[in-house]
């Protein structure tokens, strides 16, 4: 298991069980630190669920204000089909670090998943939660159950599907967005 996310409320530092060295200390609680990737080119290990052929993506900043740059666009550069076979415009996703929506966010990756992305320590990973925009905006949600996990060095990525259910993990595929982000101004 590789624990990613907030530190334990009592200050206990959870580390990756595969390599528990002193160097791992402080490698957790990283989710609302700046997520810095060495590359903007992101390659999925397999097609993204729901989008046949969607493997190559580019992470693009949105807006020019630094305070807006916590959100990014994840744009697919492949020719993509739906499962029915119809070619459709390549998907584009609005993504942000899960810790932005839930400061206590934490997720445990199983060992095989971590290995498949060449993740050795938690700090090798960056998490991207996918926002589903809806009208009206108050119906928009974010998927905190199955985030995209990216190797921040290589750009290798996969969407994590926990073996446990939403109820068991406590994180929903459709988590309402923070009121402050969606509420209409008075």
């Amino acid at each position: 298991m590789m624990q990613l996310g907030a530190t334990h409320p009592h200050g206990h530092v959870r580390t990756c069980t595969r390599r528990t060295t002193a160097a791992d200390d402080g490698a957790v609680g990283t989710l609302i630190r700046p997520i810095t990737l060495s590359t903007r080119e992101i390659t999925f290990r397999r097609e993204m669920l729901g989008w046949v052929g969607a493997v190559h993506f580019v992470l693009e900043p949105l807006g020019d204000d630094q305070t807006e740059a916590l959100f990014a666009g994840l744009r697919c550069t492949d020719t993509v089909r739906l499962r029915g076979g119809a070619v459709v415009p390549s998907p584009q996703f609005l993504v942000a670090p899960p810790g932005f929506f839930a400061p206590n966010y934490q997720i445990s990756l199983d060992e095989h998943f971590a290995e498949s992305l060449d993740l050795v320590v938690p700090d090798d990973a960056a998490l991207l939660a996918i926002v589903t925009h809806r009208n009206p905006i108050g119906r928009s949600t974010v998927n905190l159950f199955s985030p995209i996990v990216v190797n921040r060095h290589s750009g290798l990525a996969d969407q994590y599907v926990p073996a446990s259910s939403e109820a068991e993990t406590g994180w929903s595929v459709r988590t309402p967005l923070p009121l402050a982000l969606v509420a209409d101004d008075t």
Binding site: M48, G50, T67, Q92, I130, R134, F145, A163, A180, D185
Partner: protein, 112 residues
Amino acid sequence: MLTLTREPGQKIVVGDDIVITVVSVSENGRVRLGIEAPRQIRIDREEVLERIQNENIEAGAGGTASRWAAYAARRANRQAAAGATSPSVGDPGQSGDAARRPKREESLVAPR
């Protein structure tokens, strides 16, 4: 579809290295299965995959710039209303923990 009848404790072998065991069958019809397979074989509940798949389809259709603009505009309005003194999304005191901004607001994408 191949259909087999099994009793608790009995197994099905798929290929060379996948073994499925019927662990128990409860009175209300729930079946517990044990699955032994190589680690690279992905095992997921179908309804979980479908839910994620459907969400991905809905989330990925359409452009990001216009959708982002909807959030950015709300934030800009709030900042203007707050006298532009704070970069915060909103009032954490009213919105709860989930709405609280990270203390350091920095770029998701590293500058080149």
